[in-house]
Structures are given as C-alpha cells and as structure tokens.
C-alpha cells in the first residue's frame, strides 16, 4: 500500500496554495504509507535550473557537487542546505541527460528542473513540512506520495517522487508493484539508462523518460505503459505543463478524481480530496481500469 495525490490549478496566477494543498492531501492518506513522504512541486520563480541533492551531513558531497558543476560549466546562482538536502540553482545551457548523469556521479541527485523541485524524506507530510516549509511553496501543480515500503529500504532515496532521469521537470509517483521490473529494467539499461535504486517505481520514471526521449507524447507514453507494465499500479506523472495518470487493467490500486472550474485533484482515496474541501461532500469519479489521462495548464 502507498498513497498518491496530485493537483493542478487551472487558472494561472490564482489559487496557488500548492504546498499547503499537497501537505493536507498527503496527511489525509498518511495511513496508506507512514514510512516516507515526498512532493514534486512546480514552483513559481525558480531562476535557471534547480538541482536538489540528498547529501545528509556529508560536506564532502557538497564539494564534489560544486566541482562537478564547474566541470560541466554550470554557474551557481544560489545554493542552500535544507534538511537532508542540498539545493542549488544554476545557469546551464546544454543537454540535460549527460549533465544529470555527471551530477548523479557526484552525489545523490533527486531532481533537476526549471520549475520542478522534488522534496522527499523519511517521515510524515507534516514532518517534511516543518523541515522544508512545503506549505509556503506556491505554484501551479504538483504530485505527492506517502510510502509504505514493500520492495526496497526505508531511506530518502527510495521515497517517491522519482525524477524521470535525464528529463528536466518530469516526475512520477506510484502506488503498486511492477512485476516485470527486471525485464523492463534490463531493456532500459541496454538502451543506456542508469538506475539508482532497486525500487520498481524508479522504473516508471525511466520508462517515461525513454518514451519522451523517443519523441513520444506524454499521453501516448501513458497509453503504452498500460500495455507494457505488468502488475498492479496507479501512478501519476507530472511535467512542466501538467499532470497525468495511468491505471492498470486490474484496478487493484485505488484512484479517485475531483474536478471543478478551478482545479483537478486526484488521490488514492476520497479522504485526501476531502481535505481540500472539509465538510463538503464531493462529486468524485473513479477512473476506469486500464485508462490514462493528462491535464495541462492550457486547458
């Protein structure tokens, strides 16, 4: 069991209490995953590219990051340590994938994006909010996850969301088990992708990255994922422009949607959606088995 949640505000420039909304939604379904929590937030006002690393107390890692950035000809605009992470905004022109792999070899890279910021750690959504001040973050859309570890360790790097390696601003959160994990992983490794964990959810992120690399549109990639991935899954994917979901044909993992004029919210359980509208019965829908959908900011 794990819990997922996603939200997109339809109107640009309004109603952008993104962090607060996701903290509440994940708190609503924290019973589905008390081990770790994570957020992929699309923030307003990031200058250049934002890179977030898991460094813990390792100061040597920060030195390695600075050296690797210099090596890649990336100029640091701003840097800070936050919780177990090190955040750095840089000016960088060039291919993201080789840059990302070079940075990943320097330290544990969590995300790269011009608006994406992935914040994940062990603990509950309120724990993370205290450390990373998530509820103050304003933005257009985001996804989040509460994790009950089943397939790999309880550690920050195994928490969701996973960044789609090599693709700026793409992230996924997943509830389920991918049963053809090793087969798919070997295929992707043969195509030059690298894996950082044994977590089956990382596979979805890399899978989506591979499809995008081939020039396939996100919606098409989600459609193909329903055929290509085996097991039980409900996952959300987010890009710079919007969010989407895919759900397996067995519908063994729950997902509920709510949509009104102002926003679209998706979560594992209605109890998360209700956190956005306390005391109000919602008219929700359950996506049909084996379906996928995307919403973008241009709707």
């Amino acid at each position: 069991m794990c819990g997922i949640a996603g939200i997109i505000f339809k109107t640009p420039g309004t109603n952008q209490v993104l962090g607060r909304a996701l903290v509440d939604m994940l708190d609503g379904c924290q019973h589905r995953g008390p081990d770790s929590t994570g957020f992929a937030l699309y923030e307003d006002g990031i200058k250049g590219l934002r890179l977030r690393f898991l460094t813990g107390e390792d100061s040597a890692a920060i030195e390695r990051i600075r050296a690797a950035l210099a090596d890649q000809k990336a100029t640091i605009i701003k840097e800070k340590r936050e919780g177990a992470t090190f955040v750095v905004d840089v000016e960088y022109q060039g291919d993201i994938q080789p840059f990302a792999y070079a940075m990943e070899h320097a330290a544990k890279l969590v995300s790269i994006g011009s608006s994406l910021d992935i914040i994940k750690d062990v603990g509950t959504s309120h724990d993370l909010d205290k450390t990373y001040h998530i509820s103050e973050i304003r933005g257009s859309h985001g996804i989040g996850h509460v994790r009950l570890a089943t397939e790999s360790d309880v550690k920050p790097e195994a928490a969701h969301p996973f960044w789609a390696t090599g693709f700026a601003d793409v992230a996924i959160v997943h509830n389920g088990q991918i049963t053809n994990y090793w087969k798919m992983r070997r295929r992707l490794e043969a195509r030059g992708f690298e894996f950082r964990t044994d977590n089956d959810s990382e596979l979805i992120a890399v899978y989506v990255a591979d499809k995008l690399a081939q020039g396939i549109k996100l919606e098409k990639a989600l459609e193909q994922s329903v055929d290509d991935l085996d097991g039980t899954f409900s996952f959300l994917v987010s890009t710079k422009d919007g969010i989407g979901f895919a759900k397996d044909r067995l519908a063994a993992k729950p997902m509920v949607m709510y949509e009104d004029d102002g926003l679209v919210a998706i979560a594992s359980e209605e109890v998360s959606l209700n956190r956005l509208f306390p005391g109000k019965p919602l008219s929700t829908t359950e996506p049909a088995p084996g379906t996928f959908r995307t919403w973008s900011r241009s709707i």
């Binding site: 919602l282 359950e286 088995p289």
Partner: protein, 369 residues
C-alpha cells in the same frame, strides 16, 4: 438522536461513541465524515445511522442490524462481512462493495467499483447505476441487482447465488451463464426496489453459475483411515493426510482439489530480455566464440570430476540454417511429405546427441582397446 462530529473526534473515538449511543438504542447522525475510513464498523444494535457526507473504506463493515444511510459516496468495501441490517449509499461506491456479505442489504444509488459482491454469501446488493468489471466475483450465495450495465466478466467464478442485470450484460465471467428470470425472482426484486423507493420497470437478465468448473466426473472417494507407519521421532513426511491423498489419486487419477492451484503460461518471446541492445551488435562479431557449452560436475571433495561438453551447433544435420527458421520448416515439410522423407526425419534427430562428448575417465578407459 446523538450527533457525532468527526472533525472534532477521531474515527476510533467516534466509533466508541457510536457504539455507546447504539447500545442505549439512540439513533445517530455523523457530521463531517469527509470520507474517513471504518465509520460504523462492528455496530451490532438495530439503530439508524445517518452519515452526512462521504464515508471511506469499510463503512458499516461487520455490522449486525443497524440501518446506515450515507449521503454521498463510500470508498472500498462498504458493508464488508455485514450480517444483517442495511446500508443505503446516495452516491457511488468504490471497489468490492458488499464484499463477503453474510446477509442484510446494501443499496448504492450511483455506480459500483470493480469486484462488487466478491465472495458474498447471502443478502442483497443493489446498484442503481452501472457496475465495473468482475461483479459477483467468486460469490457463493445471495443476490446482486444491477439496474445499469453489468461491467465486464460479470459472475466470474461464481459458484451459487444470482445476479440480475437491468442494462446490458457486457460480458459473462467464466463459469457464468444466463438463466431465465422466474416470476418469483421478478416479484421479489420489485418488492425490494419498492421498499427502497427505486423506480425501474425494465426486464432483468439473470446470471447464475454454469457448473462447468471445479466439478469432475469422478467424485473424490469417501476417506477411510489407512494404515501407515508412524515413527516415534515425531512428524515425518508420512501422515494420515498424505497417505489419504495418495490413495485418492490412485483411485481418481488426479490430485484432490486443494485451493484453486495456479497455471503457468509457456514463456513468450517477449519475456526474453537481452542484456545488450541487439541493434548495437555488429555483423563482424563472432557470436559463437562467446558461447561455452561445457560444464564440470562433482569436482569437489577430491572426487574425479565428470566433464561434459558439446560443440555449438549453428546448423542442423540437414543443412537448413537455424537462423532462418529452416529447421522447423524442414521438419514440417518432411512431416507433410511422403514415407521416404518421413524415414529420413528419424535419421537426423540423434545427431546432436552424438555430437556430445562424454569425458569421464572411466568411459574413456572403456573405449581404449
């Protein structure tokens, strides 16, 4: 009337209050449920509970006699293992609505999620909208009424009970069949609908178990105690059950039914994962050099090892290339050809076996003059 506000107390505390009020025979109103789970679980008094909003998972589960009304939606497993009483849901229900129902009545005014009425034994589950796939999955009693479309594979692996569909039957599950709706069925359904104020005039399609699965021509024998050795040292492989199983198999030619078993499909070509992207292999590489068909057995503890090896065969004895699928084609051609060709087919089969070389010292010695 007692009011419980779930924005003020936790569900656990709320359920305690609920049970306390119910034991006094008081009706209850639950405010701000906000789709929280386990509301009203284990309530065993015949009181009325009004949930003003949506309820989460397992609402009214394990209850006995209470009458629940949920204003909006419910999550998964509404009325799970309910024994008696009723739940009326104003909106939609998530997956496994009425799972393991042991009696009572569950009425959903909206749509049902997947696997509704799974393993239900008795009682009635009514859906006024559409059901998702696998409604009535493994049900073994009771009645499901779906006024809209049935969803796919309705009645999958049901063994008893009946499903009545007012809309379209999208597809039948395995071991389910359509039967004739009797006048008694019809009258009973109409009475049920009228009792809950649901209007529906259309006809129903009745779905029941077809009786083709999990039934065998030869019955399992009535077990009788068989003599078997019992060792004083305690449990061994041989016990009364094992002996009985073997006896049953000797009589009926198959193992007795234990659970559902599992089938393993033959591996598909798509299951092969290549470590190297085939598009990166160049034609100049000699793939055969990398293949080693040799092994050594029993080379531990100072024993004389057995070395087995065989050459890599990239052509069969007929000369048809394996890469072209020639072996299979050749094989098929010969099978469809006349008797002469058929004889030659038997001649080429043992060749790869002869190609294997056995290098055990004892065999080598035997070959020497």
């Amino acid at each position: 009337m007692v009011t419980i506000d779930l924005s003020q107390v936790s569900v656990r505390d709320g359920n305690e209050l609920l049970r306390a009020a119910a034991s006094r025979g008081e009706d209850i109103e639950v405010l701000n449920p906000d789709a929280r789970h386990h509301i009203g679980v284990g309530l065993v008094a015949p009181v009325s509970v009004k949930v003003k909003g949506s309820a989460g998972y397992f609402c009214a589960g394990l209850s006995h006699g209470a009458r629940f009304e949920v204003e909006s939606n419910v999550g998964w497993g509404v009325g799970d293992s309910m024994y008696a009483g009723s739940v009326v849901v104003g909106g939609n229900a998530g997956a496994i609505a009425g799972v393991a129902l042991r009696g009572g009545e569950v009425v959903v005014k909206g749509n049902l999620g997947s696997r509704a009425g799974q393993v239900m034994k008795a009682g009635t589950l009514l859906c006024c909208g559409k059901a998702s796939f696998l409604a009535g999955y493994m049900m073994y009693g009771g009645r499901i009424i779906i006024l809209g479309d049935s969803g796919e594979r309705v009645g999958e692996d049901m063994s008893a009970g009946a499903i009545f569909v007012g809309g379209k039957v999208q597809s039948l599950g395995s071991d389910a069949k359509i039967a004739e709706t009797t006048a008694e069925d019809e009258a009973s359904i109409r009475e049920f609908l009228a009792r809950y104020g649901v209007k529906f005039d259309g006809p129903f399609t009745k779905i029941v178990n077809a009786g083709t699965k999990l039934r065998y021509g030869v019955n399992e024998p009535i077990s009788r105690p068989l003599p078997h050795t019992v060792f004083s040292e305690g449990e061994t492989y041989w016990n009364a059950k094992v002996v009985e199983d073997i006896h049953a198999k000797s009589l009926i030619g198959r193992y007795r039914i234990r659970g559902y078993g599992a089938s393993k499909a033959v591996p598909h070509l798509g299951d092969i994962a290549l470590k190297i992207d085939p598009s990166r292999l160049s034609a100049a590489q000699d793939a055969l050099k990398t293949v080693n068909l040799a092994m050594t057995l029993g080379d531990r503890h100072g024993a004389v090892p057995l070395k087995l090896s065989m050459p890599v065969l990239n052509e069969d004895c007929t000369g048809a290339r394996l890469e072209d699928g020639g072996h299979c084609r050749e094989h098929r051609r010969r099978r469809h050809a006349g008797g002469a060709a058929r004889r030659s087919r038997t001649a080429h089969l043992p060749v790869p076996v002869r190609a294997a070389r056995l290098e055990h010292p004892r065999h080598a010695a035997r070959r020497r003059p």
